[in-house]
Amino acid sequence: MLYALKIAIRYLTASRAQTALLVFGVAIGVFIFIFMSALIGGLAEFIMARTAGDMSHITIQAEAVDPALVLPSDGRTVLLVQEASSQATAVLKDTPAFIPLIEALPGVIGTSQQINGSGFLTRGAQVTQVSINGLEPGRESVIANLASYITAGTASLGAGGVLLGKTLVEDMDLRLGQTVRLQSSGGVEALLTITGIYEMGSGGPDRRQAYVSLATARTLFKMPQGVTRVEIKLADLYAADALAPRIRALTGLDARSWTEQAAQLLEALRAQAQTGYILKAFALLTIIIGVASALLLSTYRRRPEIGIMRAMGAGRWFVTVVFVSQGALIGLMGGVFGAAAGYGVLLAFPARESFGPGQSGLPIDITQGAYGLAIILTTLGAIAASILPARAAARLDPVTAIGQ
């Protein structure tokens, strides 16, 4: 139907200003569509980067030692319950056996063996409660990217070194290279040098976390072997739900996906995405209504011509194609212009790599603009919008249309 297309193009170019306005209107709709896609996608990315990105995707926590029940065998109800001692920490013993198995799984980027506990940081007369996190030297940045948060010193943990958050350092008026006293909840003390200061941007870790080497943690918590927790990082954090059961089956350990704790976060992200869909649907609806009304007006204005074409032997199908082609062309042009404008404007926003602490402004992700989808949906929407006017045109009675 090349000839119908030629006529459609001629009609569009004949009323240049009207067509330009129409294409401009469609382009605005497409722009909103793309902007919403990039914003919603960027927001999700941003929230993920700030929370889930630094999280362990699968965590194996040593199971708490249950208070032992002692039941006498003679049936008399003497029940002895041993109090769970706060000192008795649960331990994962056979890490050398299962860590290689986990690391061999596809999608696993790295593992981090940790000894966690609580303690007190002392400097002179000042005492602050901290949670102590013993990490393997060389693997400090496997889970949270510690190295990227360092503002002074280094992220690498040596024996006798400690990493402290910026807020804590400021609160206690400490400096890099100073010596502090760290006492574990078990009463063991160590003198440590501040070898690095980090700023994650969120209050908790910056104020209350002390990173030490695994060896230091062993001393502090009197744990010559084993760890209290293994954290696992995946290439795709959404694979955690599928991988956690596999790790459970493989190791017999209680491996848990991050989503179990982050159900609310995921719910919020989903709601946010849905809001985005609704806004995009409205943008599309506006496009469809705009194109439909403009084309309806155009069919009305061109009634006599439609009558002439029908008298000259143009079938209903031909007339339909002429008007549907106009809709398709408007949609395509508006889509391409809107997508190009959207891309151009989004370029002005900071790249997604900068999503992190300290980033300000809208977290817009230019890679999530859904440009192709926007163009395709707009073209399809414009075609759908033109069907009603095209049918009206095709059903015109040629005699009344010519108005003789």
């Binding site: 000839y3 001629r10 002439i308 074409m309 032997g313 009675d397 003789q404």
Partner: protein, 225 residues
Amino acid sequence: MTALLSVQDLVKTFGSGDAETRVLRGLNLAMQTGELAALLGPSGSGKSTLLTILGTLMHPTSGSHTMLGVDLTRASDQALTEFRNLHIGFVFQFHNLLPDFTALENVIFPTAVREGRETVRARARGQDLLVRMGLADRINFPTANLSGGQKQRVAVARALMNSPELVLADEPTGNLDRASALQVMDLIAEINREEGTTFLISTHDEKIAAVCRRQIVVGDGLLTG
């Protein structure tokens, strides 16, 4: 001369009940190929109505309509569209041309719409027709810029594009001054003479009617002359 078309007991009514208008009341008409006929009658007598029915643009309320041996009375819209394209040309009084297209594009429309594109052959024929209509210097002119007489000559050229057996013209010169009207009429008479195309031309103008060899007069929904 052979039979080209015939209508029998043609009735056309518009509206219904009290608002019913009986425009044609059992009209009979036969035409032979090669005729050059004028359709006369007072205003409102049904000339345009008859032409649109003969042009298959409108179905009669009752009666039969055949042309070239084909019963057109109850043919489908698609069949009529094809028939019209091949066998009938039109010249109207107003709104004849597509204003956003050149003279040549207008002329070749009936062929292009059938073939799905504008072929070189169609263009060549369109040019010949425009030259014949004395419009050699207006071939690629936008029709919006043509004078009334030029527009009607383009319309005649377009009506002839597919070499139809019948050309129906509804007051083709109604909008023109005497000189332009006669120029258009002379061209029609020339085509009729040389190609044998049948013309049926409605008019109120005695001078135009005088060019035609046959006068058909409508009155009271019937032929009276």
